[in-house]
Symmetry: C2
Subunit: 325 residues, 2 copies
């Protein structure tokens, strides 16, 4: 592989002229620039970008930490982050963790090792305070509400979103309301439980553990919910289903078993995914694409130094009324 | 930020001892190693991995080029590649191109600029011969059949898969068969057209342009197919639908309009996605997860130098009979 010296020799110019051409500096004559470029093409010279990054102190890489790449929720967020990164010429390094805490720490270590200029955390299993310890090494933006922290966050207020959905169900005459979760110990589940417990207190209803349906992540988990409902002595009349794909599985299986929606079971989804639009699903639009784009925009400001203080950005959400309640 | 000299001074050892500890070389006493590690922690020293990569010549990054991150087909492939990369401690750099040829070239340039050790191309708009020109700079694996090339490929024989699906439909009594495509000018569409034209010839049926339904990429495009079918003077009795999500949209919309499947319209999907299992969709399993894993495995062998010649790996496919034909 050719180096700068060789290019200079063949082009009949000085090494510093070659360097100026490579770095797009002015003060090189058009004729010399052309000679250098031609020689570069002839010799198939390629710059070692690791060396360039070492000099500039920028990698133009950002990391994106997420548990699964093959899941609609994270795909939508990833699309948003990717859109921002693409237009700012940043590359996305994908850190798929499967919620392994070691893998999450490895992703954050990339910031410490200066392999990336910043990191976007879509969801993590380690605590916000552990994430905070990495703020010394570079900018971090989380797509979850982590409270007042040294890092930035873009998020939906899940307590408020749940309150809105619950209010809507109560207005429609429901008192027996259950909900599905991806995992019990997530910050968004905790936030939702606040609104849920408030509702129980207000209605004077007991907390029924079996009405909180755990581990509902995809369409097949949704279909399996019907099975779980059928063995209950007392069933909820309405379900808040976190994820339109989970809701789609539930609706499909309900139809198959002749359970009519919303008459026998009302359903509210989350995400406003096209599948829900098709099924006439009432849902909460939590603006995943915008959340991803905003996360990148804030990270970019931190990298550029135009924003130094941590930012907390709460996104709006919208209840979209269709036919499932 | 501390450097090696400062660590050596504070720990009371030589610079070369610090270097040996950082690179896990033997011949450092336990006591000195501990002293160096303690000093590193105290000074919050972090290695500049760009410098390390410059020395080792490896980046431990691979690029993955794909048009869209938010699409089930690519999500499944990405999961497979990610799985392999994760277990080999490689990082994935996501190059979302939207089929822009400039963006595709930028992704391949990362190989030339030594920012990545290799690249997996899930789908591209530039030609295989243009991709081939980048083989001089490092290993490339494509997830499409590109014929005999200087780069490796893992793929499904789409002509054979289509033949199998068509044979099955003919055995079930169909002569009027249409199909959906994502984009007309893709290599997989070309491969499928071979089997399709063979069938027309065999059955003595004319080529009906309107039965090739273009731009069907997601669930909503699938739902829109019914509209397109209704305005046709003569309709196909069976459709080969490339993508279970597209087929799901079609089936849902057919049910809504009272068109019974398979009696009035038979449907075969592709991908064997959970949504198809739920809907009783007959489909071709094209092993996307395995394809992604295999693509990484071959790339890894090329990077490690255990495989230097280009590999062409044809994966099996399977017709899964359910209730939609």
């Amino acid at each position: 592989m050719a180096n700068i010296k060789e290019i200079a020799r063949q082009a009949g110019v000085s090494v510093s002229t070659v360097s100026r051409v490579l770095n797009n500096h002015p003060y090189v004559s058009e004729e010399k620039r052309n000679r250098v470029m031609d020689t570069i093409k002839q010799l198939k010279y390629a710059r070692n970008m690791n060396a360039v990054h070492l000099i500039t102190g920028r990698t133009m890489n950002i990391a994106i930490m997420l548990p699964f790449v093959n899941h609609v929720y994270f795909s939508a967020l990833m699309e948003g982050v990717g859109k921002g990164a693409l237009s700012a010429s940043y590359r996305l390094i994908l850190c798929q963790t499967g919620y392994s805490q070691d893998k999450e720490r490895e992703a954050l270590d990339m910031l410490r090792n200066r392999e990336v200029d910043g990191i976007v955390v879509l969801s993590s299993s380690i605590s916000p305070s552990e994430i905070e310890a990495y703020c010394a090494y570079g900018p971090i933006v989380c797509c979850q509400d982590a409270g007042e922290r040294q890092f930035s966050s873009v998020y939906i207020n899940h307590t408020e979103a749940f309150r809105k959905a619950i209010r809507y169900l109560i207005r429609k005459g429901h008192r027996h309301i259950g909900f599905t979760v991806g995992r019990m110990d997530s910050p968004s589940t905790e936030a939702r439980l606040i609104a849920y417990r408030e509702m129980l207190e207000e209605l004077g209803e007991p907390y029924r553990k079996e009405w909180i349906l755990d581990r509902c992540l995809d369409i097949e988990d949704g279909a399996a919910i019907m099975e779980r409902l059928f063995v209950m002595k007392e069933r909820p009349s309405a379900l808040l289903v976190t994820g339109d794909h989970v809701a789609a599985g539930l609706i499909y299986e309900a139809e198959r078993r002749g359970v009519s929606i919303p008459e026998e079971l009302a359903v509210i989804g989350f995400d406003n995914h096209p599948i829900g639009r098709m099924l006439g699903l009432t849902t909460i639009d939590n603006q995943l694409l915008q959340m991803g784009e905003m996360a990148f925009a804030i990270l970019h400001e931190h990298i550029e130094g135009t924003q130094t203080a941590p930012v907390r950005h709460e996104l709006d959400f919208e209840l979209i009324e269709r036919a499932s309640v």
